[in-house]
Symmetry: C2
Amino acid sequence: MCQLLGMNCNIPTDIVFSFTGFATRGGGTDVHHDGWGIAFFEGAGVRHFVDYQAAVRSPIADLIKRYPIKSKNVIAHIRKATQGEVTLENCHPFVRELWGRYWVFAHNGDLKEFAPELDGSFRPVGTTDSELAFCHILQQLRARFGQQLPALAELSAALRELTTAIAAHGTFNMMLSDGSALFTHCSTNLYYVVRKYPFATAKLSDEDVLVDFSEVTTPNDRVAVIVTEPLTTNETWIPFAPGEMRVFVDGEPVDS
Amino acid sequence: MCQLLGMNCNIPTDIVFSFTGFATRGGGTDVHHDGWGIAFFEGAGVRHFVDYQAAVRSPIADLIKRYPIKSKNVIAHIRKATQGEVTLENCHPFVRELWGRYWVFAHNGDLKEFAPELDGSFRPVGTTDSELAFCHILQQLRARFGQQLPALAELSAALRELTTAIAAHGTFNMMLSDGSALFTHCSTNLYYVVRKYPFATAKLSDEDVLVDFSEVTTPNDRVAVIVTEPLTTNETWIPFAPGEMRVFVDGEPVDS
């Protein structure tokens, strides 16, 4: 099993605080030492960092903790290998292009007897069930919507169907983004918090770090953070129901 | 115009020495300050770093200069924008997946009246002629060879045809790799050197840095370095002829 961290905001925000606690679980306070990765959307572009070293020992994770990259959509992952070797090509998140946009995907869980037929338009490079699920999702989206990105409601409905079908094969907590929205699906463990005005002080559960968000934000900022296990001890994390999909846009969940 | 740096080796080698000189041209000794990028193959995986800051001022470029990532195939690029805005999505190298492998591409030059018809299988995310050429190349390869990676000779012949046709539209110095070979095409400026036993000392032209390769290599190591402008002052760089394509495998050019 693995852990997931997602962020969706209304204005580009850095993830240094949340990533600091999260990365500590990659071989520090927890057993997820089989690599890690993070992807930041910046406009239409993506910064993608993956490493098969434990996040607590990775020079690149160290850079991310010190270098405030600002983004409206971020997906991060720390890995405890269940399927697939500990290699770079098996590190999440995965990135592909569809409809002239990059799509970023990460998965927590384990799928059994999951062997969708691929037509070759998106093929896994590594050997994880996760990358296979991602390729299957993109193939199905292109098959359904052709050459055009659909409206958010249509896209969300299609993803709800696809994730429900995949989750029938096992545990499928997942995060997917095209840079405009963050799509999340819960099988077993997923929580979110929306940080907005009036901002308070938050304390990391994995490191002795406090941040007073009122000092580093403006009243208009809104940031949704989604995780497999809550990151702070003094905020109210809202649990997802099993089988629930939520779509985050501009820092909050939307009905879709 | 931009500058390109490629490396192809028989065993995984770090590019710290060559990248140090190259990155200095990104806003230091030269005018290429509109972003930069580098991609390293490690097994089937790729580490991909892009930044729209000048390489001389980028914290990520600084990390690459200090952190010896070992790879058999590397492509780096520093950008002086000619077509497309200075944004992350327009930074080279570009990455796509074809046949279950990642492909990495970077381009130096400028293409005019280049508007190939795309079928949607690979679409540019940014607005450069370079990413358009890359999408066109991958689309044509899949159209020609179907679902299967062809033998190197067939692939090289197809790429020779494609690059010649694209180069009819302007300047097309380019580097392309799938992690097993480095394909290079010269329109105007491309040079290479093969470093092998007995290794000598090399001196960077852009920084006051010397390295004695005999101290950091074994007698079996072989490294080809390919660049748009020679990086060292005391090695013999072999120029490409205009219109020439060369394929590098295991640290040396091969007939194909």
